[in-house]
Symmetry: C2
């Protein structure tokens, strides 16, 4: 006979960006675990390893290309691009006709962004100025790819850690750019547009204002960005870094704002590493406007982190079964996760 | 200057059930791997272990409940339900008003289905008649839960293997039932309805007919079911078992049809085990009609397997980065995967 409290009772939360619900089971964090625990490889990587395909001066996989002796960031075409610039046009089937075998040729280009020459330096442990260089490299790439006529969307992301499918241990991010606007990006654009048209205010502008008042999901902030565990977070310690002003992409950011982006990228990832005293795995991505030549007044830049760890450095959340067949599910609440992240230090545990 | 071929060139395929595209990169299967390889625990489980929380006669986690000395299937309430029958009603926020903090209390009930008393017997190695008992247990549960006024959807699934988040090694499946119709199930129902209304034929009825003619994605079949790697498969060796006749749920199946379901469940999972000579991990789920008291003439029963393994028993596909931010992506084609599965034996490798 108690009242509904979302800190206690099972409920669904609505993600207004995706137009999707997720199931939240706050009472469930205590279930026992006889399942998988992750192997955390001891982090004793050297600064340089001659077998590191992405190291400065080293030969890449396959032995054809050789990396330059780079000294800060190094960006190059992915040797195994998922999308290629020269796919012949073509298509099979028509949705409207009821065909069930529908395929479309796609073009694109995939790039790799090494963060620094050092094999053993991840974002939270790099020098601030070197992280600023990463943000500048992203911006240059974004602008260059945006100019290509066959590219209409540029996805900048980082898969960090083996647990998140990172296939090479050298700290790096990726850029997959494509002729099509990928499904999730498209859906979000439509939802941002519908919201602003209906309510007369940008969805994320309003969201930032609301979170600054409520405070319970805040992690940290600086002059240009706010980091929160979004109300609709799916991954246990998911966070979202939102620009407090509405900008559509890196292309619209001042140098000062780019420094602030580097600042918060480091501070968030440092809190993550400190959470379980481990090099914290995640997928990170930037959400920016499409590069299709039209204007995108509803786009609002943000960065999102999807980290899999749940209870410790070795027990992760699995998005399986119910999650794959039905909808996302989480155990601890966004507010509980935010409180833990908020109370952490911003000095890296390995530097103490 | 070649022609577009979906066996060769990057493309997107359309999933008409979900109304979603997935990216397919057939040329990419050869990229090197310096990333995670999975630990495969040697499968030397005994038939019985006193520490097995789900074993016959044993105490469950927490020590409160004791299992009966069960001899075939054993079904009980999950000790850590994600959904509870007695959540107080309540809600926060209104989507229509533009609120960004929207939550709804939800009710439901979670059940666990132990397949047999034996800790070391998975579906492909069980006796056929014991797998038929599992299908009967599912049916009984489905019917019982369907009658509860607070339950409108029943999701039957199996997370198999540590890699797929199975938190207890005793072979078992789960049932999560809920007052709401989960997002993916709802979307599929809407798409099935729209298709049939527009084209005058059931989407999956047409799909079964088409695949029986094309043959290139077929894995195996029996009198009541066809197993294919669907044209729009996302996971490397994803398969779909579709009833050749349109039935909405287990409740509409004859005993003969249930035997056929057990037959194909075993044959598919046996092929899976034989693929990499390992106990093959996957999430399996049944898609059935909602249990909301209305009729669902568009529902068409199927069973889907989402297995993570890609190259070997130790290298899996990660749905990370681009996949989480943009849309699903796969390397080998559905046709290549089907050919490998089709050519495998249906005698289990450990029985040879
Ligand atoms: O219920 P279990 O086996 O403890 O948990 C497993 O299945 C659930 C339903 O798919 C998931 O939410 C969990 O992440 C997974 O570990
Ligand atoms: O490109 P990589 O690092 O080889 O691969 C990684 O990132 C890709 C993009 O998110 C994913 O498709 C792969 O599954 C993952 O292992």
């Amino acid at each position: 006979g108690s009242e509904f409290e979302y800190s206690e009772h099972p409920h669904r939360r609505y993600n207004p960006l995706r137009g999707e619900w997720i199931l939240c089971s706050p009472h469930r964090a205590k279930r026992p675990w006889q399942g998988a625990t992750e192997e955390i490889p001891p982090d004793t990587r050297p600064e340089y390893d001659p077998n590191d395909y992405l190291g400065p001066g080293n030969f890449r996989s396959g032995g054809k290309a050789q990396n330059p002796n780079y000294t800060d960031t190094f960006v190059f075409d992915n040797d195994f691009m998922a999308l290629l610039p020269d796919t012949p046009d073509g298509s099979v089937g028509e949705i409207d006709k009821g065909d069930l075998f529908v395929a479309r040729a796609v073009k694109g280009r995939c790039r790799v962004v090494c963060f620094s020459p050092k094999l053993n330096l991840t974002i939270p442990e790099m020098e601030r100025e070197d992280v600023v260089k990463v943000v500048h490299a992203w911006t240059d790439e974004f602008l260059r790819l945006a100019k290509e006529p066959y590219i209409n969307y540029v996805q900048i992301f980082e898969n960090k850690g083996e647990m998140m499918g990172c296939s090479n241990p050298h700290p790096h991010g990726q850029i997959w750019s494509s002729g099509f606007i990928p499904a999730e990006a498209k859906k979000e654009l439509e939802n941002l547009k519908a919201y602003e048209e209906k309510h007369g205010v940008g969805m994320l502008e309003k969201y930032v204002q609301d979170e600054l008042i409520k405070k319970e999901r805040m992690v940290c902030q600086n002059n240009s960005f706010l980091c929160v565990v979004p109300f609709w977070a799916l991954w246990p310690f998911e966070t979202m870094v939102i620009s407090t002003e509405k900008v559509a992409s890196l292309a619209e950011m001042s140098d000062r704002m780019k420094e602030d982006l580097a600042d918060i990228y480091q501070r968030v990832t440092c809190r993550y590493d400190n959470l379980f005293k481990t090099s914290f795995p995640y997928s990170m991505g930037l959400r920016q406007c499409p590069t299709d030549g039209t204007s995108h007044p509803y786009s609002h830049f943000y960065m999102v982190f999807y980290p899999p760890l749940l209870r410790s450095a070795t027990v992760k959340k699995f998005m399986v079964g119910f999650e794959l067949l039905c909808e996302g599910q989480r155990d601890l609440t966004a507010e509980q996760a935010a409180e833990r992240l908020r109370n952490l230090d911003e000095v890296h545990y390995r530097k103490k």
